[in-house]
């Protein structure tokens, strides 16, 4: 919270005074939400703790949570860099430009920006192929829905979110041609009350499966209240809802990457990279599929997971048309990473426009 922010700044200031001589590598983390969100930020913090566990006294980590996407992010990053951080992870799409700006001022500090696409000599980007997990979610959703209406709560209309919608839709449609998607944009990553309102609106309009691309667990709470509605853990397992609405989840596993990159800084081998790993390399995990899902659907989902993990199947494999009916991928063609990274269109069949 804000208080922790103050305390962290104080700790940073202290660190500046004492840390200069010590032989520890300082690693900073900038979070968009609270560590206790149970979702996105929670998983990044698990990655941070894994770094601490791996290197012990050789590293010192600091974090600031609830950093607003915008000018305040630059202030936080600058403060981290000034207080001696050698490596800074900025963990939200909206931190992209602030990261680039601050990185220019501190050429000796390495920056790692999650889910963005702008790199520099000292800025790497990393993300996970969440759309692989969305393919599995879409399959389960398409099989499980009885009303054939699937609700999707989007945060911001950025490529990462649009990719997820497209991937889920393609795979739901594949197993259930009657399926329709209702998409609601809430323009926030974290606002439990608003996420709940959105989930309620979708449920009242007939959705019985809710997919979310926001960070809190409140959507699952709304699904639990409603009764016959299922949902998925987002970014984190959200296993506490497993005996309720949660039937599976997409789990972000940042720990191996964070450890690898921290080691690179310690060894002096850090280079700018553009990492985009998926299920195959373990950056995206699929949470346990509960018994609510019939065995054959579960087997189908797991088979899909296996074929994606082995690289045998790409979730965006043609023939796929864009929303306007023009051909995007020909039969058997798979999407290239460039198009996926900048994806700004819906595939054919999804109704509505993407907000600009």
């Amino acid at each position: 919270m804000k208080l922790t922010k103050l305390l962290t700044s104080a700790a940073l200031a202290l660190g500046m005074a004492t840390g200069a001589m010590a032989d520890t590598t300082k690693v900073g983390f900038v979070y968009v939400g609270p560590v206790g969100d149970g979702g996105w930020t929670y998983e990044h913090d698990k990655g941070r703790l894994a770094v601490e566990a791996e290197f012990g006294d050789a590293v010192e980590t600091t974090y600031v949570e609830n950093v607003a996407e915008g000018p305040d992010a630059e202030r936080v990053m600058t403060q981290m860099a000034l207080s001696g951080a050698k490596l800074i992870f900025t963990t939200s799409f909206g931190f992209m430009d602030p990261t680039i700006n601050v990185a220019k001022k501190f050429p000796n500090v390495k920056f790692e920006h999650a889910t963005g696409y702008k790199t520099a000599d000292n800025v790497s980007v990393y993300s996970a192929r969440f759309y692989e997990g969305r393919a599995i979610q879409g399959t389960i959703a398409g099989r499980m829905t009885k009303s054939n209406v699937i609700g999707y709560i989007g945060s911001f209309p950025i490529p990462e979110v649009i990719r997820g919608i497209n991937s889920a839709y393609i795979h739901a449609k594949k197993v259930n041609p009657d399926v329709t998607f209702k998409i609601v944009w809430v323009y926030t990553w974290f606002d439990p009350a608003k996420e709940t309102d959105a989930a309620k609106a979708l449920i009242e309009q007939g959705a019985d499966v809710i997919l979310q691309h926001t960070d809190s667990t409140s959507v699952l709470t709304a699904a639990a209240e409603a009764g016959n509605v299922i949902g998925f853990g987002q970014a984190s397992d959200m296993a506490e809802y497993a005996d309720g609405p949660r039937v599976s989840s997409i789990i972000d596993n940042w720990a191996p990457y964070y450890i690898e990159r921290t080691r690179a800084v310690i060894d002096g081998t850090w280079e700018t990279v553009n990492t985009w790993d998926g299920i195959g390399r373990g950056m995206v995990g699929i949470g346990e599929i509960t018994d609510k899902v019939p065995a054959d659907v579960k087997a189908e989902a797991l088979a899909l997971k296996a074929s994606i993990a082995s690289g045998e199947y790409h979730p965006f494999t043609g023939p796929i048309n864009k929303q306007d009916g023009s051909v995007w991928l020909k039969d058997g063609e798979t999407a290239d990473d460039g198009t996926l990274a900048g994806m700004g269109f819906y595939v054919e069949g999804i109704e509505g426009d993407i907000p600009s």
């Binding site: 919270m1 149970g38 609700g151 998409i183 944009w185 606002d191 009350a193 309620k200 609106a201 009242e204």
Partner: protein, 306 residues
């Protein structure tokens, strides 16, 4: 686009739920500001109310006790503000901001062991016959008691301010504390009571989020509602019924726009997303063209020596 998929009855019922936290916080702050005190700590008191209400409801299994604890928690936190501004005579803006920061941090600390727990369900009104009515039933007669309480508080505040001697004294303190003091009214004592009332209301509003609207505890879950309540008091020109109107408009348009999005209405989403703020401000600004102004002593520090 399929407007028939929106059920207007469910819509009205859920917009009332969405508006109640803002309404509770705003009506409390209205009384505080009418007494001439600007407390920017609404967000902090709300989140403390949210966590203390949640914790007590979970521990005792009684949502009622939870709501009481939330009101007490909010009022207790406001005592910190009382100490800073009424005893130590510190700047009210800075003290209020500090209260918000403290509330957010402290609630995260005490809430740590409550993440992922479901609170006991808050009972809803169920009057035989009335609650079963077709349209009126779900809208008017099947909410939880706190929602009715929030409307009752608005009515009580309106009556108190307009028709009672206590209300007159409160307003006198807010308009000109020196004159009120000269007349022998206990300015500081009256303000302390107003601030604590505001804290209790904000606490209730916070608990309404964590026990009814979202039913869960998550750090920072008020997510700025306290600030909206603060702005609402100003745009409502410090008038209780306008606060109610503003809160219902804001909550209403928020819920309506999400429903319109889900129904696939062909209005660009970015306009829908900004509509709650825009519509609420426009309506209240038009209403307030009668130039009703802020309490004259709002935010000024009172010391009996002046």
């Amino acid at each position: 686009m399929d407007l028939t998929s929106i059920n207007p009855v469910l819509l009205v019922a859920s917009l009332m739920v969405a508006a109640t936290p803002i309404l509770l916080a705003a009506i409390g702050e209205l009384v505080v500001e009418k007494a001439g005190v600007l407390n920017l700590g609404v967000e902090g008191m709300m989140i403390i109310g949210a966590v203390s209400g949640f914790a007590i409801a979970v521990e005792t299994g009684s949502p009622l006790l939870g709501f009481i604890a939330a009101a007490v928690g909010g009022a207790l936190l406001s005592l910190l503000f009382v100490f800073l501004t009424q005893v130590a005579l510190a700047n009210q803006v800075a003290s209020g901001l500090a209260l918000t920061l403290f509330g957010l941090g402290f609630s995260a600390l005490i809430g740590q062991s409550y993440v992922g727990i479901r609170p006991p369900a808050t009972g809803q009104l169920n009057i035989p016959f009335l609650s079963e009515l077709d349209v009126v039933g779900p809208i008017l007669f099947s909410h939880d008691l706190v929602l009715y309480l929030s409307i009752a508080i608005v009515a009580a505040v309106w009556y108190m301010l307009k028709f009672t001697r206590a209300g007159l004294i409160l307003r006198a303190v807010g308009e000109n504390h020196d004159a009120a003091h000269a007349l022998g009214y206990k300015v500081v004592r009256i303000r302390i009571m107003a601030i604590m009332f505001g804290g209790a209301c904000a606490g209730l509003g916070g608990a309404y989020i964590s026990l009814v609207r979202v039913p869960q505890w998550t750090e920072g879950m008020t997510a700025g509602i306290g600030w909206i309540a603060l702005a609402l008091v100003v745009f409502a020109s410090w008038k209780p019924w306008r606060v109610l109107l503003g809160a219902y408009l804001f909550g209403g348009v928020t819920v309506v726009q999400l429903n319109l999005q889900a129904a696939g209405v062909a209005i660009p989403v970015e306009y829908l997303a900004m509509s709650p703020y825009l519509i609420t401000i426009i309506v209240l600004v038009i209403l307030s063209k009668d130039k009703s102004s802020a309490p004259a002593s709002l935010g000024r520090i009172f010391h009996a020596s002046h």
